[in-house]
Amino acid sequence: GAGVSQSPSNKVTEKGKDVELRCDPISGHTALYWYRQRLGQGLEFLIYFQGNSAPDKSGLPSDRFSAERTGESVSTLTIQRTQQEDSAVYLCASSFWTGGYEQYFGPGTRLTVT
């Protein structure tokens, strides 16, 4: 079946603009995760969803970042008033449940803030 998909694959935006990043998880996966990966660095946890609820938002860097998930499917990560330090690859992953740990990752969205 289809894997995790993310759109857009690349996004260039001007500082101060808002951006929305989309994640389509694997069908049937109840858990969905967002990570940020700066160039040459490891993955930084942002938030995860179990169903449509987000039990852990502890990784969101500031109140400019928000995420939602609907229909236990698609998730959107929104960054308001983007800053240059927001430039990174944003990765989405999904799994059958949060205890299952084997997270299947999408290809990521490369965000560049100019």
Binding site: L43, Q50, F105
Partner: protein
């Protein structure tokens, strides 16, 4: 705070040799560890995982070893192939974190030479 770290940022291996990638962790209470492989321009791909009640786990051409005494995790790749060239990340779930949150290390770049 406590975190996962890696000993070597870059590992050069000759094709056909065995590779050993190391990871140190400082939280002795962490109960789950996982290795991911990330090829250039792609999202991370699950390799193998291990729980803290195990010392060793084998997969196809890969073995993960967990030494709780010295808080050390390693990934062994047998007969390394050019397709193994990638960045390898270890990750852990800390008991203080929610089920869905993994803490990733910085990564080790593996370069397979002919």
């Amino acid at each position: 705070g406590e975190s996962v770290g890696l000993h070597l940022p870059t590992l050069s291996v000759q094709e056909g040799d065995n590779s050993i990638i190391n990871c140190a962790y400082s939280n002795s209470a962490s109960d789950y560890f996982i290795w991911y492989k990330q090829e250039s321009g792609k999202g991370p791909q699950f390799i193998i995982d291990i729980r803290s009640n195990m010392d060793k786990r084998q997969g196809q051409r890969v073995t993960v070893l967990l030494n709780k005494t010295v808080k050390h995790l390693s990934l062994q790749i047998a007969a390394t192939q050019p397709g193994d060239s990638a960045v390898y990340f270890c990750a852990e779930n800390m008991p203080s974190d929610s089920w869905g949150k993994l803490q990733f290390g910085a990564g080790t770049q593996v370069v397979v030479t002919p």
